[in-house]
Amino acid sequence: MRLELLGIAIISFFIFTAIFAPVIVGLIPHDKSEPYSPPSKNNLLGTNDIGEDVLVELIYGSRVSMFVGLTSAFVSTIIGSFVGIISGYYRGFLDDFFGGLIDLFLVLPALPLMILLAAYLEPSVWNIILVIALLWWPNTARVVRAKVLELRESQFVEGLRCLGANDLYIITRHIIPNVSDLLFANFTLSVARAILLEASLSFIGLGDPTYESWGSMLHYSMKRGGLLNGAWWSFVPAGICVSLATMSFMLFAMGLEDRKKRTKAIGLEV
């Protein structure tokens, strides 16, 4: 429970920062200074390679990281749950087809493929979202399919069929609500992965250079002498933010799983 709360607190902090970024930036000192100036009164976390305030970059960077993380996780969860439910519920040809597709995507080395796709497509936030979403859905699809296979054979679904309920009704009113906790846990894990992936792609220079993200902060710091100049403030805060954001979603997902286990243990699950 504590882990879950800690996760929620960190996530809330980052989402609040992302939404109110312009207001927060207006409240802190952020003069343009010499490149790689150390932390000072005017630049609380120092400056980057072009003399811009690192804290301001971090604050605006949270927007890109959160947006990419949440959007790509949302899209991949939608695709994954659609494929998983259809495949598990209808079985037969659709299951064979989607099952094959899931297996195909699962055996593909995701990160190298994402790097390849990101390099081939024009670098933009939307393309990163597309790349992550398109290659991350099979994980969700696989677990959802397994759960739906179990549900479709359950007595209450059998009963609904006997009462003349159609497939759409059963799926929307009974299957989806029963896999929703699974979807939510997968969604939170996907956000964590997506944030990490966005940072990885931006770090190797395949991100959108027109938006500051934590990954691009790391990229410019590494590519433009941050390490050699000893400007730790140009890369450590961004690294911490990526780790914290990823960890917070992981903690949240773990907390949800713990809660589910506890609920199961005391026999409250329907």
Binding site: P35, Y36, D49, I50, G51, A119, E122, P123, G205, D208, P209, T210, H219, Y220, M222, K223, R224, G225, L227, L228, N229, G230
Partner: protein, 531 residues
Amino acid sequence: MKKMLVVFLFVAFSVAGCIGIEKVQDGENVQKILKIGTTMPIKADNIFVDYYFGILESVFNDRLFTIDERGKIVPELVESWKVEEDGKVWILSIVKNATWHDGEKLTAEDVAFSINYLKAKVPGFKAHLALVDRAEPIDKYTVKIILEKPWASFLANLVVVRVIPKHVWEKVENPLEYYGEDRNVGSGPFIYKGFDKTAGIITFEANKNYRLGKPNVDKLIFKLYKNTEAELMALKRGDVYTTYFYARGLDPIYVPALLADQNVRFLVETNFGVDNALWFNNKLYPYSVKEFRIAISYALNYSEYSKTITAGYAETPKAGFVPPGWSYYKETRELVRDLAKAAEILDSIGFKDFDKDGWRDLPNGSAFTMKITLRSDLPESTRLAEMIKRDLEEVGIRVKLVPVDGMSFRKIAEQERSHEVVISRTTMWGMMMWAGYGSGYVDSRNIGWANVEDQELHRIVDEMLKTTDEARVKELAHKIQDLYAENLYVIPLYWGKIIQPYRADKIEGLVYNPMMGILNKKTWFSVKVKE
């Protein structure tokens, strides 16, 4: 098991130790080894396949002409030359004491063969030798080059022509696929010894029979690094004594970190290329409107680019584009930021915010977004683009940055010319090609990033291509710079310096050459390895 491990470690350390000793001792004499770090991505040791290995060719091969420290074209393998038929026929007398590394004499046959062979079989040389009809030897040491039409600045093209041994290459049908043992036989001061791809080491040994004498160092080693950080760490450790990258010095952002090391010193040299410039596609509207380009020039913050991108190792450029190092450089007006003036000009030509969305629209009322294409693989280019975007947005010009990789960039800007605006740099040799003074990049009939079809420019370029009279060349050089300044087909963003770091405790006597950097004859005969 333990015994085996001890034996293995003993053997391993012995072998490693022997290799270490071999590197520094040759019999009783300690070898003088010059170690140079580079981040040039060399993948293959064939000069026709790998562009960057082709750059190292200057180490083991002499060329017909070269560039001296002041940027002048001077003969290398050529002793004397004359031009006949108004620049249509070039007769070169080559030196008589040049030999190939395998002992064969270098003759006019080799030179004529090289020119004909490169033109016919190596795609990269087709443009350089576009106007060459044929080359033929007149006698053992004289070669005649016949052009299809007069070309006064043909010498600049001969600077990049590789002279290769006929007896090696005449049997090779496809030079891009040839990896025979003799592929790197040259006539230069060093002999190619090998490329260890796993270790990332390219080795050359001094040519004791070189026509100008044996170079000062016995061995030349290039160590390849994936990134500048690793390369400079190696420099600080003393693993390499200096660094090299063609037509580019050290990114100035690294200078403060190296200044702290008292063993590292710098050569700071004039850059004959333009570090970064904003190239308009002058055929497209609204970039075809002179006043629009001038307004953009007033919106840019040149001093800021110089301060942040080059850490102050650059100066604010002049509108005439051509940097001050060049002969016949002409002082033109300095580029300054004046937002009020930019806004005033934009207003006067009808670029106003008609729909009150905060962005200026085209005079017909439709929305306008300037698309700037840039190289995503060059971090300083993306940083610069971000700053330009912000500056232009201050005068209400909406900007979209289009980052592309190097290959796509060339396709867009050179082959398709589908760009609106690009950010790119020029090299020293690039400034010399076509009619010189950067005309190759500007003129729509050549590389043409600026895609200019202005008749006045074409007339000047055409005359420069034909003129050999120095007084007239000077006049035309001034005219073309005035034309650049008046029309701003391209806006230089800063004129930078070339920064060459080296370990002062390990070496001295490096000489910088504006085209090939430290890889030049003067360096080979003046450098001293101290250890």
